[in-house]
Every structure is written in C-alpha cells, then in structure tokens.
C-alpha cells in the first residue's frame, strides 16, 4: 500500500481505531495510578522520516521510552515516551514510595516498563477486537535518552520498505499527578490493507 496516497476516509477510520485503542489504554492507566487520565484526539500523519520527530514535537527532550514490536496479522511498532522526570513520578506513584535519587532505579524502570506494557496491551486488545485480527507483541524494551535517538532506532523496520511512516500519536495526561505521556503507533504499510479490509472500509 502506498502511504502517500491514502484515502482521507481511510485515515479517518484509522483515527477512530486509534481513538478507541488509546481510550482503552487511558482507562487502564487510570486504574493503575488511581487518578483521572485525559487524552487528546489522536493525530494521524503520513510523514517522511526526516520530519517525524519534528511532528512528534519533542526532539531533544530527555525521555524514558518503552518500545514494543507487534507481529502477526498486523505488524508495526509502538513507542510510549514520557519525560525523564515524569517517568520518575509515574514510578513512585506505582511503587507508592518517593525516591530522592535523580536516577531511575532498576525497580523504577520496571514499573515504567510495566505501565507501558499495560497501556499497549489494552490498546492492542481494542485493536484486535475492532479488526478481528490476531497478533502478538514483544516484551517491552526500555531506554532513557534523547527522544530522537530512541525514535530513530526503532524506525528501521519501516525504513527497509519505504520512506514514509504513518504516525498515530496521542497525549495522555493526568492533571492531578502532573503526568504526560506520548503514545506512538507506527503500523507497517502492508498490514494496513488487512486492517482496512476487516473494518470494511476497503472497496
């Protein structure tokens, strides 16, 4: 499938899928930290790699990122990032203990990884229910660095087959706990056909 010539109606359908998926993820996160979580309407964009991080809006920010690879009927990548400080806050919320160490401990890293895994799991459950397609996802891989370095390192699957990425991005935030995270879903172009077919937007 040619990403550059995607029908706008199909993009809308994808947006709706993203919306429902991330809605599910937000509910899961809300239960996890026991606070109200709000989300933005997903932004969908088809972009050349060079413009991807600009569109993501946090190029040189120090972030904690969790990456998961989806395989099966749908293939693609999921990345969940939060600023390093916010990752520390999320960890202390989950572990119910405050740490004064500015560096994330192994335990705290695990907590952030776990939270991201739960988020992704609920996103993908929704995706699977909507499309009746089955797929699996990898264990979460964790890394803290400059946002762009993390993003650049997960794009290679997409890079091998094309020059564009389809990006579905949402911001999840929790006002009371001052948490914001960015959720990125980068489906591989060839799995889009199947996805559209199963939700019935394909002619």
């Amino acid at each position: 499938m040619d990403l550059k010539n995607l029908d706008p109606a199909w993009l809308d359908a994808l947006k709706e899928i993203g919306n429902i998926g991330v809605g599910n993820a937000a509910t899961a996160l809300s239960q996890l930290v026991n606070a109200k979580i709000s989300m933005t309407v997903p932004v969908i964009d088809v972009l050349p790699f060079g413009e991807l991080s600009k569109a993501s809006g946090n190029g040189d920010v120090y972030v904690a990122g969790v990456y998961l690879r989806i395989t099966g009927a749908i293939t693609g990548d999921i990345l969940f990032t939060m600023s390093y400080q916010e990752a520390r806050r999320l960890a202390s919320l989950m572990l119910k203990q405050q740490s004064n160490d500015p560096v994330l401990s192994e335990m705290e890293c695990s907590a952030v990884k776990e939270a991201s895994s739960i988020l992704t799991g609920s996103f993908l459950n929704a995706l699977s229910e909507l499309t009746s397609l089955s797929f699996t996802y990898s264990v979460p891989y964790f890394c803290t660095d400059i946002f762009e370095a993390i993003l650049g390192s997960i794009l290679f699957h997409l890079g091998e087959v094309g020059d564009y990425a389809l990006l579905i991005k949402t911001e999840l935030s929790c006002r009371t706990e001052k948490l914001t995270g960015n959720f990125f879903f980068l489906p591989q172009a060839n799995s889009l056909d199947l996805m559209f077919e199963s939700i019935g937007v394909k002619n």
Binding site: S138, F142, I146, G159
Partner: protein, 164 residues
C-alpha cells in the same frame, strides 16, 4: 562552539551540505550514523543522517541518504557540487549506538554496529580518510559540525561532551 551562527538540522534519512559560516546538526543519533564530510580549504561541510546499512535490503528505494553505502556517495557528490576539492575532503562519523537491548533480535542488536561498518566501507571505497569517530555504546548523541573549523561537537545526556 556554534558561534551564534545558523544551525541547520539534518533529519533522519536526510543529507545537507553548506559552506562557512554555518553549523550542521543532527539531534539525537541512536543507532543511526551521522557522516560528516569536510573540506578545510573551501570550508565546505556536509552531514548525512544514515539509518540503515545497505540498499540491497530494501525494495525499490531511491532515497540514497538513508543507507550507509549510498549516503557516502551521495554526500560526496553534493559536497563536490558545492565547491569542495576532492583531494582535501576528510570524514568524521558519530552514532551507531545500541539503544535497546533485545536478546531475541540479533540483527537489531547489531544495527548500530552494522551501520558503522557499512559507512566505513563506503568511505574507503571513495578514498575519503576517516580522521575521527565516536561510535558504539548504549547512548544517543547530538552532533554539531561547524563549517568554519571542521570541528564536530558531540553532546550526550550522561556521557558528557567532546569535540572530534
């Protein structure tokens, strides 16, 4: 280091060439490689932001800046067009880190390393001397090439700064 001059950012799978006084920069190189070519006489410099090692793995692709082997050739052509003398061009490379530790994906593990190997092979093929490099490790790098001095400033989050 940037001397208040304009900083031009080179995105993933892009390449840019410019003459003094400018700064060419790549924000956050992970497993990608920033290939810097520089001619000290004409003060012309260029950076290619390489994402993958080889073109042969890809299907019907034309963006030469994306792959190590083709990016070096493309960058050399650009910098010569911009007026650099072929005999004086030097190369500096940075990046090629191993960001995520993924035991089951062996290729992924070595992506940064494979990128570095491919770029070095291409430089050799084009007879461009590699005068400095800062590759490997498990951390991202931001690089800034100053086209006046030819110096490359490398910034990291937890591993300090250095100039190569």
């Amino acid at each position: 280091m940037t001397n208040g001059n304009l900083v031009i950012t080179v995105g993933i799978a892009e390449l840019r060439v410019d003459t003094s006084p400018t700064n060419l920069s790549v924000i956050g190189l992970g497993s990608c490689i920033g290939v810097c070519l520089y001619d000290p006489v004409t003060k012309t410099g260029g950076i290619a932001h390489v994402m993958l090692p080889e073109l042969i793995n890809a299907r019907g692709n034309v963006n030469r800046a994306k792959f190590g082997d083709t990016a070096v050739e493309a960058l050399l052509e650009e910098i010569l067009t911009a007026g650099a003398n072929e005999s004086g061009i030097i190369a500096k490379i940075a990046g090629g880190a191993h960001m995520f530790h993924i035991p089951e994906e062996r290729n992924f593990m070595k992506l940064g390393e494979r990128n570095a190997v491919s770029v070095k092979r291409a430089l050799k093929k084009c007879n461009i001397p590699l005068v400095a490099e800062d590759t490997g490790g498990q951390y991202g790098r931001t690089i800034i090439l100053n086209t006046t001095s030819g110096c490359v400033l490398i910034k990291t989050i937890n591993y300090g700064e250095k100039i190569i």
